[in-house]
Subunit: 470 residues, 4 copies
Amino acid sequence: MKVSSEIDEFKDECGIFAIINNVEAANIAYLGLHGLQHRGQESAGIVTMNDSQLYAYRRLGLVSEIFTPEALKKLPGRTAIGHVRYSTSGESSISNAQPLTVHCSKGSIAVAHNGNLTNALTMRKDFEGLGAIFQTTSDTEVLLHHISRSDCNDVDAVVDALNSAKGAYSIAFLFKDKVICARDPNGLRPLCIGKLGESYVVSSESVAFNLIGAEFLRDVNPGEVLVFSEDGQMASSQPLHSARKSSCLFEYVYFARPDSIIDGVSVYYARKRMGAILAEESSVEADIVVPVPDSGMAAAIGFSERSGIPFEQGLIRSHYVGRTFIEPQQSIRNFGVKLKLNPSRTVLEGKRVIVIDDSLVRGTTSRKIIDNIRKAGAKEVHFRISSPPIKFSCRYGVDTPTNEELLANQMTIDEIAKYIGVDSLAYLSVEGLKRAVDENGGYCTACFNGDYPISYEDEGVKLQLRFEGL
Amino acid sequence: MKVSSEIDEFKDECGIFAIINNVEAANIAYLGLHGLQHRGQESAGIVTMNDSQLYAYRRLGLVSEIFTPEALKKLPGRTAIGHVRYSTSGESSISNAQPLTVHCSKGSIAVAHNGNLTNALTMRKDFEGLGAIFQTTSDTEVLLHHISRSDCNDVDAVVDALNSAKGAYSIAFLFKDKVICARDPNGLRPLCIGKLGESYVVSSESVAFNLIGAEFLRDVNPGEVLVFSEDGQMASSQPLHSARKSSCLFEYVYFARPDSIIDGVSVYYARKRMGAILAEESSVEADIVVPVPDSGMAAAIGFSERSGIPFEQGLIRSHYVGRTFIEPQQSIRNFGVKLKLNPSRTVLEGKRVIVIDDSLVRGTTSRKIIDNIRKAGAKEVHFRISSPPIKFSCRYGVDTPTNEELLANQMTIDEIAKYIGVDSLAYLSVEGLKRAVDENGGYCTACFNGDYPISYEDEGVKLQLRFEGL
Amino acid sequence: MKVSSEIDEFKDECGIFAIINNVEAANIAYLGLHGLQHRGQESAGIVTMNDSQLYAYRRLGLVSEIFTPEALKKLPGRTAIGHVRYSTSGESSISNAQPLTVHCSKGSIAVAHNGNLTNALTMRKDFEGLGAIFQTTSDTEVLLHHISRSDCNDVDAVVDALNSAKGAYSIAFLFKDKVICARDPNGLRPLCIGKLGESYVVSSESVAFNLIGAEFLRDVNPGEVLVFSEDGQMASSQPLHSARKSSCLFEYVYFARPDSIIDGVSVYYARKRMGAILAEESSVEADIVVPVPDSGMAAAIGFSERSGIPFEQGLIRSHYVGRTFIEPQQSIRNFGVKLKLNPSRTVLEGKRVIVIDDSLVRGTTSRKIIDNIRKAGAKEVHFRISSPPIKFSCRYGVDTPTNEELLANQMTIDEIAKYIGVDSLAYLSVEGLKRAVDENGGYCTACFNGDYPISYEDEGVKLQLRFEGL
Amino acid sequence: MKVSSEIDEFKDECGIFAIINNVEAANIAYLGLHGLQHRGQESAGIVTMNDSQLYAYRRLGLVSEIFTPEALKKLPGRTAIGHVRYSTSGESSISNAQPLTVHCSKGSIAVAHNGNLTNALTMRKDFEGLGAIFQTTSDTEVLLHHISRSDCNDVDAVVDALNSAKGAYSIAFLFKDKVICARDPNGLRPLCIGKLGESYVVSSESVAFNLIGAEFLRDVNPGEVLVFSEDGQMASSQPLHSARKSSCLFEYVYFARPDSIIDGVSVYYARKRMGAILAEESSVEADIVVPVPDSGMAAAIGFSERSGIPFEQGLIRSHYVGRTFIEPQQSIRNFGVKLKLNPSRTVLEGKRVIVIDDSLVRGTTSRKIIDNIRKAGAKEVHFRISSPPIKFSCRYGVDTPTNEELLANQMTIDEIAKYIGVDSLAYLSVEGLKRAVDENGGYCTACFNGDYPISYEDEGVKLQLRFEGL
C-alpha cells in the first residue's frame, strides 16, 4: 500500500452559528465562532442582515485574526449567521468560504452549511441543463438554485430544496426577515439551540453557548426545521422525509470539544468511557498510561481509572510551534513531531508504557511519536486507540483520506502494529464505542464498517468541467 | 452647493488583457497587466484555461504585489485573460474582482469587462424572475446568465447576449477552447489587437504591447467580435447592432497612458494639441507655464510651444508619498498636497504663472495646489484646463461624481475661479478638444453636454435588495 | 491595596543556548532555541562567529517566525550562541534583544545572559565616570565594558568581570576563537552541558538537548567557568568567588518545562511531588481535582494520586486564541479567560471542586477563572496552590510585580480567599516545596520570605538619565 | 573591465533634521523627514528629549510607513532630531540606523549625521586601545566616544570631538538641554536653518522648510557650530579648524531636490543651466530633446531652451512599479527598465533623439534604456550627460562604486558611447558644471578629477574584526 506522508489526522469539517434579534448580532456571532474554531481553521465568515441588505465578511484565517473591530463595524443588523471551515482541497481557497451570499427573486439570501450532500452533482447537472450558472464548487450552492426557482414562500422553498437533497446538513439560511435552520433527517451533524436574553442562538456545538453566556435549550431534532422571525419568535416543524437516526460517532471521538454536549451526551464523559471500556477490552501489564495530548487526554484518564495503571504526562506539548515553523533541512530526525510533542525521558525511561490516542488515520505521525518514545528509553510501548479501525471514507462532511489511504483498510492490526513499531496495538470495538456514547444507539458507523445510512446518487457523476478559485 | 472633500480626481475604470496560444500565457498576461495598471489599482486578476478547467487568481492590490512567482505557477495553460479594476464603491471589495468565473451548461467560462451596461438592472430583474441567482453586484454577470441559458453555440450565445445588452464594453470571454473578444457598437472603450510570435494578444491599450514586445496590429472596430481558437486562429465579424461611433474623449484627456495609441491617435500628441489649442483659445500674459505633474505635463508642453511662454517645473512631485501616509492631525496647512506636489519657491516667486492641468472634477485638490502656489510667492495664477467643463456623470464605466458634485454643473466659470482662488480660469472648448483628438469626430461628449449616445433603460429600476461582499 | 488588572502571571525571563564546533551551528542553535521558547517569547537572536567576524540576527517575535531559511543562511560559522527573551518593560523593544554584540580591543564579542546583576547600576556609574558609553539599558552591558578594559587574556578578562559583578547569571560569551560559559556562584539560574556528535552544546534547560538529539552530560556547577575552544575542547575551572548554593525554586514551580531536569531533579516529578505534599498538607473533602491547564497539570496529578480524589479535565484550554484576539467591548463577562480556559459544565455542575494551580501572582485571572467555574455550577470551589505565597520581588532575573502589587504581600490568606471568591484556599509550605524538589536544599527562597542570598548594591542608585529604544 | 550588473545609480546618502522648542517636536520632525526622504529610503529615525530622557524610534522603511500615529505618540518632548539613511552595504540593516543613542557621563545623547569621517578607523583603533566598546560599524560612533571622555562642558566636548575628526559632516547632537548642530569646515554636505514660529528648525535641505511652512533663515556656514538651548535661543560660533570651502557639486547634479536652495543657489535653476551649458558645449543636430525622467528633466528643459530643439516626453515613467516587482524569468528583454520607463514609439519613431540624463555611473541601466529607445524606432540617439565623467570614488558620504567599477575610470568616452550603444555621447565639462552652479567656486571636484580636499588617514587601517548586525 501507499502510505502517504501527508498530515495524519482528520480535518475538522465546519461549524455554523446563528443569532436572531440582537443589537450586537455580529459581535455575538464572532464570539460564538471562537467557540467553534476547532471545527475549521481555514476560513471564517459572518453575514448580517440589515434593512433587507446583506453584509458579508469572509476571509482565510482564524476567527481572532479576521474579525477586527473594524471588520465587525461593517456588519450592522440584528440577525447574523456565521461559519468556520476547513477546506477539503490541499489548496487554501477563499472562493468556497461560507456563508454563501446570493441575490435572487427571493431577495438576498445567505447560507452556512456543515455537512455534505450526496446528490449535489446530480442536482447540479440538472440545474445547469436549465441554464443555471454556478460560481462555487460547493455542494451547498445547489440548494440556493432550488430555492430561487421556487414559487413558494421562503420556508416552503427551503423545505422543498432540503427534501430534494440527500446527505448530511446542519444548516442556517439568512433571509431578509427570518433565519431558517435545519438538521438532516439522519441527524448526522450536530446542531443545538440556546437563548441569550431575548435572542435565539443556534450552534453546531453547545460550547459556543457557554462562551457567550447563553442558556442551552435543546438539540435540534433530526429532520427538524426551525424558523426564527426577525423579532425573535421560533417555530418548529418536522417537514423533512424521515430517516433512521444515524448521528456521527466521530463527533464524540474527535471533532467536538470535550466541553460540548451533543444529543444529550457529554463529549468529555463519553471519551472517558471510551478509555475505560478500552481498558476493559484490551488492557495490558504496564507501568504508566500516557495520553497523546490533547486528543487522547480524556480517554487516558478513563483508561487509567479503570485499569488502575497510573496516568502520567509523558508527552509534553509545546504551545509555541507557530504556523511558520520550517523543518530543518538536513537534521534532527522527527524534529517537527518532537517540537510539538516531546517525550519526557524522566517519565518514560525504563517504563512499560501504554500510549492512548483517539484515532489512527494514516499512522505517519503516530509512527514518529512511538519512535521518539522508544528513543526516550521506554521499555515497552503499547498503543491503545479509543475508537475502532477506520476502514471507509466518510461521505457526510468529514475530510477522510480515500479507502486506499486508510491504514486500517489496507493492513491487519498486526501489520499496523509492526508498521508503527509498537509492542502491542488495540482499538476500541464498535460495540464498545456505541456503549461509551449511548447504549440507545442511532449512530452512523459507516467509516468503521461501510454501512452508509444514505444512498449515494453521485456515484459516477463527475464535475467534468471544474474551475478553481485559488 | 455641497463641495465634497473626497478625492478629487476621476477613478480609472478598468483594463483588460487576453493572450491566446502561448506557453507562458499567465506570465505574459501578468506583464501585460503591468502596462494597464494605471487603469485600475484596486484589484487584479488572471484566469487561465488548461484542459477544460479554469485556474483563477484574483486579489486586492497592485499587479506587482499580487502575482508572485508562486501565484503564477498556479495558473497553467496556453490561454489567459486578465483584468485590473478600480472599485466604484468607497469600500474595497474582492467580491466584484474580475475576471468573473462561472460554471454552467457551456462548461466553465471566465469574463473580463471594461465598461458599463446601461440595461443591466433591467436584464437582472428579468433573469431573477426566471429563477437565476446572482453572486456579485457587477453588471457583467447578466451576460453570463444570458449565455448559460442559450441553446446556441458559444459564439452565437455571446453575440446574442451582447446584442441584448446596451452600454459600453470592451470585453473578453474565456471558453474552454476559445477566447471571444468584443467592443461595443459605439466604440466607447478602447481595445486593440497585437501579435507576439504565434500568439494573439488583446489589450485595452497599446502600451501593453510595447512592454511585452508585441507587434501592434490594429484597433478592434466598434461592434466587432473576434473569436480566437485555442490554436491561435483569429476570426472577425460584425454581428452586433450598429450604432454611431462615440468613443470616449476622456481616454485621451486623462485615462490612457501617453505612450498609447487609440483608434489611430497618439494620446501624447493629442494632449500636446489640447494644450496648444488651449493656448490659442485662452492664453494670457504670463512669465511661465507650469504643469500639474504628471497629468498636465503634455498639455503644458503644447501650451508653452504655442504660446511661447517658457515651460518650467514649478511643482515638484514626490515619489515617496507611500500608501500609508497619515495627514498630521493639528498641523501644517495643505500638508498632504504639498508633500505630493511641492511648489518651488525659486521658480514661482514674483512670477505670473499659468498652471495647466488636464481636468477639474471637484476642485478640492486644485484649490489647495493654487493656495500653495500663492504662498510660494506667485504674483498671478492663471489656471488652464486642457478639457471642457464636466457637467454630467458618465454612464459608460467611468466613476464620476453625481451631477450635484461636479463643480462645473453647479457653478459658472467665474464662480469656480473664485472658489479655487485663481486670477483667471479657462477650459478647452469641446470643439477644441475634438479638433485636438481627431477632426473626423465620432466621440462621446456626454460628460460635457449631456448628449448620451445610448438610451438608459435602468432609469428608475433599482437593485432593491443588495448585498455587499466586503 | 491597588490590584492591577495587568496580566496575571510571571514572565519567563530568558534562555540561552550555545554550540561549538558544528558545521550547522546556526541551524542547531535555532532548533535549540525552539526548546527554550517558553523562557522568553518577546525576542530571539542568534550570533555566529566565522573567520573572526560576528554575524547577528535578532528580532522581535517567536523563534519559528524569526529564523526563516533565508535568515539562517546569513549566519555562517561553526560556533553560535542564541538567546530568547521576555522584556521586562511593557513596551516591546528590540534595543535590548540579545545576544549583545560589540567590537573592542579584544575583537568582536557577543554575549547571551539569563539572570540579573544586582550591582549593575553601580558598575555602570563607575564606567561612565571613566568615559564609557552605553547603548542599551541592559545590565549585561557592564560586563563587556569590564572585559574591554582588561589587559588580561580573554578568559581572565571574563573571570575578572564576573567576579566584580554580583547577582544571577547563566551566561555565554562568544569570542573569535572560543566560547566561555559560566553560572553564577549561587547557581540561581540553570545551565547544563550536552554533546551532539563532536560538538558541545550548552543550554538553560536540558529539554533543548532532547529536541536536537544531543546527549545530556551534566549541569554546570555554581561558580563554574567553561571554556570551549573553537575545535571543540572543553576546559572547566571554578575561579569565581564561592557562595552558598541558592538555586531558584520557581524554575521547578513554573518556569522550566516539565520535560527538563535541573540540577539532577526532574521538573515533572518535582511538580507531582508538590501536588502530593500539598494534598498531605491541606486536602479537603471534594469530588474532583481539576488542574488549571497546563500550568497546574502535574501538581494536580500528584494531588489526585495522593488524596485519592479523582482527576478531571474541568477547564478546557483552547489552542486557537491567537495573538490578535480582541476582547469584545460591551459584552460577555470574563470572555477572554473563558475563551482560553472554558469551564466544562458537565464536569463541574453540582461538584465540590479542588482547583490546582502552580502559583498566584496578582490574582486577577484566577478570580475570573473561579467566577467562571462557579457559573458552570460547581457547588464548592477549593483553591490549592502548589507553591508558597509570593511576598517579595525577585532580584535575580524574574519579572515580578513590585511588593505592593503582590497579592500575598498585601493580604492574609483569608483575605485572598475572599478576594478571589473561593470556599477555601491553601498554599504549599516553603518546607513542602523544598521537600518536593530536593531535601538536600540549597535553594533561594527570597520571593517567599525575603531571604535574599546576595547583597543589593544598587539600592538607591538610580539610572537618572535613561533612554528608551522603542 | 568588470561591468557590474548592480543598480546603476548613486545612492542618496543621508538627511538630517532638528527642531527645538516645539510642543509638536516629533510630529514636525516626521513632516520634515518626509521632505528629506529622497536622501535615504532604507531607514528613518526620530529621537526626542523629554525630562532628561531620550525617546527613540528607528526602523527600516519609508518615513510614511514608519511613523504611524502610535509611533509618534511614543515620542514626547519639545526637542527632536531625525535622520533618513541609505545603507552603503548591500544588506539592509537596522543596527546602523540613526540617530544613534547613547548614555554616558554627560547623560543621554543622540546624534544624526550626514557625511563620512575620513579618520574614523584611526580614531576607533585609538579608543579601542583605551578600552572602549563599539556597538555599530558607523563612523559616527567615534565622536560619541570622544565626547564621553571629555571633561569639558557639552559644547566644548562636541567642538573637541569635531576638531579631532576629519571629513564631511552635517550633524546634529541632542543633549538633555540643548541641540548642537555643525557643518564641516569644507562645507561638503549642506545644512540650513529655518524658523517655525518660536521654534528653530535645522535641515539638510531647505525643501523640508517649505513643507512644514517654516521660514528659511540661512545656510549654516562651513565650520560653524550652532547651539540651540531648549528654550529656543540660538548661539553661533566658528570654533572648528578652517579649511577651503569645497561643497559637493553632486548635491546640485543629483542628490538634492530641485525645489531646494543650497548655499544660495537654486538647485532647479542650476540644473537648467547645466543643460543649457551642455547644449552650448556639445549640441548636435536632432529632432527632439528627451529627458530621462525625472532625473534629467530640468537639464533637458535648459538644453531645449538653449538649443531650440523641441522638448518631448519620449520616456514615460510608471508610478506603479511597486517594490515587490519580480522580473519574469524567461521573457521580455529589458522588461524591468521598460516597465519603469517606457519609450513612446509615437514620439521616438524616425526621430533623431537627444537623451538627457544627469549622470552615468555604471551604465548598465542607460544601456537598456538606449536599447529600448532604438527598438521604439529612433533613427539616431545622442546621449548628453549634465555632469562630468565620474572617475573617482567619493570619500565624503556618497556611496559610489569603487574606481574600478566606474565606467569613466575604465573607458574613454568613445568606448563608453560604444558600450551603451549611442551615436554620440558628451558630458558636461567640469568648468561648465562649476559655471552652472556658481561662478564663485568653492566646490569639491574629487569625483571628477581626484582632487580630494581632505587628507585620508584611514588608508591602510582596516577594521580587522567586524560584526554585522543583519
